[in-house]
Symmetry: C2
């Protein structure tokens, strides 16, 4: 298994070898049940145990408070861009939603929310081409907004909030909604500042098709009448994510990832603290190499560089193809940048080992020596 190449895909993305090996081993017979997990009724005792364990482990890892529901849903971040305002935009009857635009994803969120709410762009990083976060002190927040939306890690632009905004300190009583799709479970979350968090699973958690929603209990029950039952957080919470058939196999794989994380150790730490430390070390290694280079560059401001998604550019773009070919030949996969911004992108999620980043850095150095 150690001979697998290193996969830098932005998502769906690399999963731990040992999780995949366990999935393969249990494929035809989950623990003597005589069934694959794919074949189990979602209401049977076997799958109920799988789902309950997964939720408990996730709650434990992220220290999700008891007054938050964890929902297993479908549709990914893009669907949540509609589902969130369908559930929350009438929280206080203002129908107002403030969105901080920090990159491609929050921009999409603002556009979609406008189908359901009076949306205001509270701040926009466009002036810096999304290489920096607009300072929180300058956000234009409306006193009667139903909620404030922030994308805490922009997958395409590579900017990350390293501290969640404190809306109360900014004079707002609105709940904060965070789209944490692409750095979910890579670090701790300060739940005291959050009303709702959501994220697709396909970065740090498991197969595409599963969406995690963490929602504070007092925000439920205000869905618009046009909100489909299957996407009404109150309905989903009351049914413990079994209102419709959930993506059972994806929940199972996610549960194995949670268990892998709980036993993960690094630098004298275990669990989420350990993976966060490794994520810091991996990102630091790669940013240092990029900053010391004359050929490669990352353009994001130092204080908000993403630990997960690191876009970088060759100063000589004519070398892009040669670079990608060489990377692939060395077993460094899926490094091509998003089509909207070009260049390269290394997504170094939880399951990317330190050795993967070391191999990439070694290749950067070697490539610069040859072509720099």
């Amino acid at each position: 298994m150690s001979s697998r190449p290193f996969n830098f895909s932005a998502g769906p993305a690399v999963l731990p070898d040992e999780v995949l090996a366990q999935v393969a081993a249990e494929m035809l017979d989950w623990r003597g049940s005589g069934m694959s997990v794919m074949e189990m009724s979602h209401r049977g005792p076997e799958f109920s145990e799988i789902a309950q364990t997964a939720e408990a482990d996730l709650r434990d890892l992220l220290q999700v408070p008891a007054n938050f529901h964890i929902l297993f849903m479908q549709g990914g971040g893009l669907a949540e861009n509609a589902i969130v305002p369908m559930n929350l935009s009438q929280l206080n009857a203002s129908g107002k939603v403030d969105v901080v635009v920090t990159g491609a994803w929050s921009k999409k969120s603002a556009q979609e929310a406008a189908r359901y709410a009076d949306v205001q762009i509270a701040a926009n990083g466009a002036a810096t081409r999304y290489t920096d976060l607009p300072a929180a002190a300058e956000w234009q927040l409306r006193a009667d907004a139903a909620y404030v939306h922030v994308c805490t890690n922009e997958t395409i632009d590579g900017v990350e909030f390293h501290q969640l905004p404190d809306l109360k300190a900014l004079g707002s009583d609105a709940p904060l909604v965070i789209d944490c799709s692409s750095h979910q479970l890579s670090r701790t979350i300060d739940w005291s500042r959050v009303g709702l968090a959501f994220g697709g699973a396909q970065k740090n958690i498991g197969p595409a098709g599963l969406t995690l929603v963490y929602v504070r209990d007092d925000l439920l029950g205000k869905a618009l009448p046009i909100c489909p039952s299957a996407f009404d957080y109150r309905v989903v919470a009351d049914a413990k994510s079994m209102y419709n058939t959930p993506p059972t196999f994806s929940i199972y794989v996610a549960g194995l990832v949670f268990q892998w994380l709980k036993r993960f150790s690094y630098a004298g730490k275990t669990g989420l603290a350990a993976i966060e430390q490794r994520n810091i070390d991996k990102a630091s290694l790669l940013y240092t190499a990029l900053d010391q280079s004359n050929l490669f560059e990352n353009r994001v401001a130092l204080h908000c560089r993403s630990r997960m998604n690191i876009p970088f550019y060759l100063r000589n773009e004519a070398l892009n193809g040669v670079f990608l070919d060489g990377a692939r030949a060395r077993g460094l996969l899926q490094l091509k940048g998003h089509k909207s911004v070009g260049g390269m992108r290394a997504s170094i999620y939880n399951a990317m080992p330190l050795e993967g980043v070391q191999a990439l850095v070694a290749y950067l150095t070697e490539f610069e020596t040859q072509h720099g």
Copy 2:
């Protein structure tokens, strides 16, 4: 693998052993790519090939005409109960939707559609406790309905349309929408009578979390403004199901099931014709045993008995627990009926071998000898 028990779950449900074995074998490295299918970018060449092949094979199996789009979506049948009217209820500006209620599922569809449309129950099988289908000639269809909704196989009640209604012959020009979740791909579909078909994958196709939608091209582009982009058929069709990240792994497993079906042979036939013949034979075997019994009974009218979901009851309900315990001891799993109707239910989807039904029939006979 032949020692696996027989799994009669109504869904998620049994999958072919050889498909599961292939999934396990390819788990860490899909065909030399160095990646699990779960780890592939949905826009990369490897997954594009998987998705395109799956769609082409499904189109071939079901003989889906070129003017129908096949969409890979999320949310299952329950979400489609909202997504269909969000897309189609304003097809002709009447906002009227006629629903034929034949059991638990179409009843739910009617309730959910009422969020978006002026819903009329065109006919209702409640008088027969959903043991018979209301005769098409007696349906109350409105001339200006945007569409007519029918559930062609009721998973809980065990009634199936063995011929699709011909709305034109009934004097209606409205497109027919069919919820075919629980018998999808078990038989041919007469597309000349259909405008849109949908179904969750978790019966005959693959893991829960994937929804198949087959929609005629001329029905696109009329979605309500409050329809989320991720569920707007026009948007999904234009993006070839890649508007948001699709449930990639489920599509992959579905694709393997399609290939299994294409090479399936039985009684001198191959492909869909072969599986349909086996489904007829399996259902016939089980219904004959039930009808000849003094202890067990199926209550559905002969002309509309489902080939997929066969509810049955013990005339002495005090024996239910003993029956289920004995079944489990013989490797006959998940036979308990739906909680809303009680009794037993044998779901005998495509992947259930003839031997599974034979084993069940043998057990019925043996049980009746002991307890009848």
